[in-house]
């Protein structure tokens, strides 16, 4: 994985010292809140309901054991013994003291981490497929390009005060696990007919108040043009994006109002001026960054096949976990392991300091020291030999980390909601917990099959409810929480925005409503192979409306 060079070390350390001085001046009263707030936000420090919150960047979701141990240490020393992994592959701490944040950032810098650009109207942490470098279906590892974008965008003077925040996601696989079509820019790495690497470029996707699916504006962008073309997009956005209205300031609105064709024309015109400038990536630079991500040498471990079959036969729980949480690796003797952070009835995405330490230990011993954070709020060990799955599983069981539910109905995404967040209108976590408990039985989950529930506590959609197969949006109505249900959303290569099914449900009724939707699906699916999403796309909303509201289904609330 990428290692800081001298420039990176100096840059990050200088930022820590600069922030330390700013915090000191704030605490002494030299700096007023209005002056300080944008400075703390540039360093990932928010103020939430109960305390400050620190959001730490995990570039493209990739971590080493040493870094994970540092995250555990920070949870233990400066917080309340846990952290929350987010849908942007980052981690948030919910209780840091402002006065401690410079020390926390200094400790993070010692393991090549920071909290830069995890807030503000700048280019945020670039996200990527959590199976990058391991998946059988990818043409190349997308992370070198994400790293190039990270370096280019870090305190980029031209793009530090954009009309609004800006999110870029990259995938190198046909199967989109990075939800690229709901990002400001989505990049799909592929090869052209001559075997050259480049990108399909999508622009203007996003969730929030006005959900939009990104428009494809380029079928193939050669890899050497990545920065010049991205700069061209940013310039068009920076110039024409709306600054008069926060709710219309994202690039998705510009794309929508301008039209994808005209926007693409403007981008191409800008690109023509930039194409052969210093932004053109020399192959040697791409290779130098790619070398950091060179796959570990994975020795053949064919004994794993026989062992695995034997272990599965001996232990049905283990077999269930392998079936659900282990995906095929491009090396046949290996698997990609999903460590579920969704224990039945637990808080989605939370991990204790002990759990983080244990994951670090397992990764070091069995997984070539690599850990990923998925946008679905789970952790991933991308390279585990089949021959090592049994000890890995035992270690995870002991730490309460072996829930066999990846991709199932209890693998719920939920934002922090009103339990923590100053923007939220309703709680997300207790709703996720109740649904998880209701559907917690392994047999029932297996019977239902793949079903993604995503919950947001406000319209900003951090819980990705728009692309949930079943999405729940918490709103406040007459001072009470109410949950609007959307159906049919999806954040993959066939992205769709969920449709509001009808009036909302009170907190005590929403789990029953979800159950009715699930039962309706079970009653109408062709057979077990037809997933919830496929069935919904076949039959549409009506049977679900009928089930929820009776024959005379009511209009959307």
């Amino acid at each position: 994985m990428y290692r800081y060079d001298e420039f990176d070390h100096t840059f990050v350390s200088a930022r820590v010292e600069q922030f330390r001085d700013q915090v000191q001046r704030r605490l002494s009263g030299e700096l007023a809140e209005d002056a300080f707030k944008p400075l703390r936000l540039m360093n990932g420090v928010y103020l939430q309901l109960h305390a400050y919150m620190l959001r730490v960047a995990i570039p493209y979701g990739t971590l080493s054991s040493r870094q994970m141990r540092m995250l555990a240490h920070i949870a233990r020393k400066y917080d309340r013994g846990y952290g929350h992994f987010t849908t942007r592959q980052n981690i948030q701490y919910n209780w840091p003291r402002l006065s401690d944040t410079p020390d926390i950032l200094q400790e993070l810098a010692s393991v090549e981490m920071h909290a830069l650009q995890t807030s503000g109207n700048c280019i945020r942490n670039v996200t990527a497929d959590h199976f990058a470098g391991a998946a059988a279906d990818e043409v190349a590892d997308p992370r070198p390009y994400a790293e190039i974008l990270r370096q280019w965008s870090s305190v980029h003077p031209e793009f530090s005060f954009l009309p609004r925040k800006f999110k870029i996601a990259v995938t190198g696989a046909e199967r989109d696990r990075a939800a690229i079509q709901v990002h400001d820019i989505g990049l799909h790495l592929k090869k052209d007919e001559n075997g050259r690497l480049g990108f399909v470029v999508y622009v203007g996707g996003g969730q929030g108040r006005t959900p939009m699916i990104a428009k494809k504006i380029r079928d193939f962008l050669p890899e050497e043009d990545l920065l010049s073309y991205t700069t061209a997009i940013m310039r068009v956005y920076n110039l024409h994006g709306r600054r008069d209205n926060k709710y219309k300031a994202r690039i998705k609105i510009l794309v929508h109002e301008t039209g994808a064709e005209e926007l693409a024309r403007q981008v191409e015109a800008e690109f023509a001026n930039l194409k052969d400038t210093e932004l053109k990536l020399p192959d040697s630079d791409i290779q130098a960054i790619a070398a950091y991500f060179a796959p570990a040498t994975l020795p053949n471990r064919p004994e794993g096949w026989g062992n695995l079959a034997r272990w599965k036969k001996a232990d049905p729980e283990f077999a269930r976990w392998v079936h659900q949480n282990v995906q095929p690796h491009k090396h046949p003797d290996y698997g990609m392991v999903t460590i579920s952070l969704k224990p039945i009835g637990g808080i989605p995405g939370d991990a204790s300091d002990e759990q983080m330490d244990i994951v670090a230990e397992i990764a070091e011993e069995y997984a070539f020291d690599e850990i990923r954070v998925s946008h679905e709020q789970n952790l991933i060990l991308p390279h585990v030999a089949l021959a090592d799955l049994e000890p890995v599983y035992r270690a995870l069981v002991a730490a309460g980390l072996a829930t066999a539910n990846a991709g199932l109905i209890t693998d719920i995404i939920a934002c922090p909601g009103l339990d923590y967040c100053a923007l939220a209108n309703a709680r997300s976590i207790p709703v996720a917990q109740e649904i998880s408990n209701r559907f917690g039985s392994a047999e029932r989950q297996a019977e239902i099959g793949e079903l993604k529930i995503k919950i947001s506590g406000c319209i900003n959609a951090c819980g990705h409810h728009h692309v949930g197969h079943i999405g729940l949006l918490g709103v406040e109505k007459k001072g009470e929480e109410l949950y609007q249900i959307t159906l049919g959303g999806s954040g993959d290569e066939h992205t769709s925005i969920g449709e509001i099914i009808g009036r909302g449900f009170e907190p005590e009724k929403v789990t029953d409503a979800v159950e009715r939707i699930v039962d309706t699906y079970l009653g109408l699916r062709r057979d077990k192979s037809e997933t919830f999403l496929e069935a919904y796309r076949r039959v549409g909303p009506q049977p679900f409306k009928d089930a929820l509201y009776g024959g005379g289904a009511q209009a959307a609330a």
Binding site: G29, L49, H50, A51, L98, P430
Partner: protein, 105 residues
């Protein structure tokens, strides 16, 4: 009129605090000074502005509360959660609003 208290977050650690009758910022809503008429509310607002200007607290707000069996209970869920913590047991030793506290009802 609706009863009101003054709340904010402490500058140095961000912890939610309420203003008590002696003008101190305290960590328990139950110790807050309750304003029951317009002049008292105006005094709260003035104190809040002064504390903000003195860099003691941030995000200062007057909020609505009611007294139920001698216990102060904010009218909004958001403020009940601010007063007692998240509505879920979220870490060992921290039960938040779900714990045996005063305003859970």
């Amino acid at each position: 009129m609706v009863e009101k208290v003054l709340t904010a977050n402490r500058l140095a650690d961000g912890i939610s605090v309420w203003l008590d009758a002696s003008g101190n910022w305290v960590e328990s809503l139950q110790d807050a000074f309750v304003a029951r008429h317009a002049e008292a509310v105006a005094a709260l607002e003035a104190t809040g502005k002064r504390s903000f200007d003195e860099n003691k607290v941030v995000d200062v707000n007057v909020i609505d509360v009611e007294e139920v069996d001698g216990t102060l209970r904010p009218l909004r869920m958001r403020e009940r959660i601010r007063a007692e913590g998240p509505s879920i047991p979220y870490a060992p030793g921290y039960n938040g609003l779900a714990g045996p506290k005063n305003v859970a009802a």
